[in-house]
Amino acid sequence: MTQASTVKDVAVLARLTISEHDIENVTAEFNQTLALFDALQSVDTQGVAPMVNPCKANQPLRTDSVRTLVSREGLMKNAPSEEENYFLVPRVID
């Protein structure tokens, strides 16, 4: 059973905040989902290679040539805050 403190630690890694009001419920749901994974532990996977994706071994790769797919201005239009084509964030260094 995963404790609420562990769930809080995981949330920090994921840059999510769980309020004190929600933590009990979130932890219960978290454990409910982990219980679904218990069945995996009984499978004998000795010597079985992990399958990362279902692609063929040789993926078709293109030549790595420089080209502009999207303009800088086009990308910056969605920036929540920008100045002179740079993304603005709160001050990091005093």
Binding site: T17, Q32, F37, V43, T45, P54, Q59
Partner: protein, 488 residues
Amino acid sequence: MSLTFKSIATLSHDLKTGEVSSRQLVEQAVARIETLNPQLNAVVCLEAEQALANADQADAKRAKGEHSPLLGIPMLHKDIFCTQGMRTTCGSKMLKDFVPPYDATVVQKLRAAGMINLGKCNMDEFAMGSSNETSVFGACKNPWDMTRVPGGSSGGSAAAVASGMVPLATGTDTGGSIRQPAALCGITGLKPTYGRVSRYGMIAFASSMDQAGPMAQSAQDCALVLNAMAGHDPLDSTCDNTPVPNYHQTLEHPIAGLRVGVPKEFFSSHLDTAVATVIDTAIRELERAGATIKAVSLPSTDLAVSTYYVIAPAEASANLSRYDGVRYGYRCEAPNDLQDLYFRSRTEGFGAEVKRRILVGTFTLSAASYDQYFMKAQQVRHLITQEYDHVLDEVDVIAGPAAPNTAFALNDTSKSITDMYMEDVFTIGANLAGLPAISLPAGLVNGLPVGLQLIGRRFGEAQLLNVAHQFQNRTDWHTRRPTLEAVR
């Protein structure tokens, strides 16, 4: 003349003979969306003016003698595909104001084929859900019964086609998100082989399983659209360069001698008994068409759910780490510092189900849990894939239900989170193994549609569409329509 529910093939013929114009098709589609959508909530963005301008261009091309099969046909995209200049939200507050500066390859290809995009369809937030209830725009309703879900995550796409708004909508399928809503709304939906259709510009959920496909009224229409969607894309290294056949050309092949495998695990306690009867009848219809039915076994069917719900959230937690409030997407008000900006933008921007999966994925990828969960799930994925491959050595296609039951009620609080995850029990296997699969209407239970699922070999879309089309030549389930009495 009503053009609603006419097939793409028929509309294409009518456009060619001049019986109808693309402008008329688009005008009727827009009118129908405006009438039905306030209650159905299938469409979250409608750009009628631009669509009409594009329709006029298509009509001008027809007038000059151009007659490609999709030219001038109206359609909608799932709101997961980036559309240049048209808002793309993925059903999330996180992307509520996001206007992509480029088109997804699927969008570009269907436009190049002449299709007219009218707008975007509702969906579960970041494609995480089986009911379309996790969308920031609210739930989409099932046209067959407004008190029920259309399925998910491509619920808006399924409802739009099922209600006759458009003859075609795109969908994406990571664990059943094309096939389950297609089944619950009584339409035909195809998830192609992983790598058959480009994922470029398709907002990522679980990158090793995400795949785009057509949702339409029939296998024939799906074939016409897949011809345009499929093929290698230099912008997606997982997009395969296997040559694309003409899917429409092989639809009429007889299926005598076809070997159909029926896994006993697909008729387990998860399956509603009335749905089981419909599926059994549908399989007997394939037998009457000359197919040989063979009992097969996929013992890991239940295990696939556990495997999927480790791998998909893990990949999602990595993919969704890009939403940090800095470069695009939602940013919280007046952040105190950079960490506060990250935490509050993500906490306020994501919905509950998305946060639930990010948490689980972050946990299973963490150093202490990686071997126990993520590595283990990837090994089991390998075994499940071998199981499918072994069965498909013995039979040509696997047949069974697409979903364990018909459309369930909206706001069904009796369903736990893991109950909801079990909705995907029959569809997930094809995603883990990267196989193509289709859902097609096979009957009704208490007035609600049931979907027959067919799973094929890698790059075996032509055979799946052929079998589905032959079934639809012999049955009329795909021509049944909801009355929509509650909507009018």
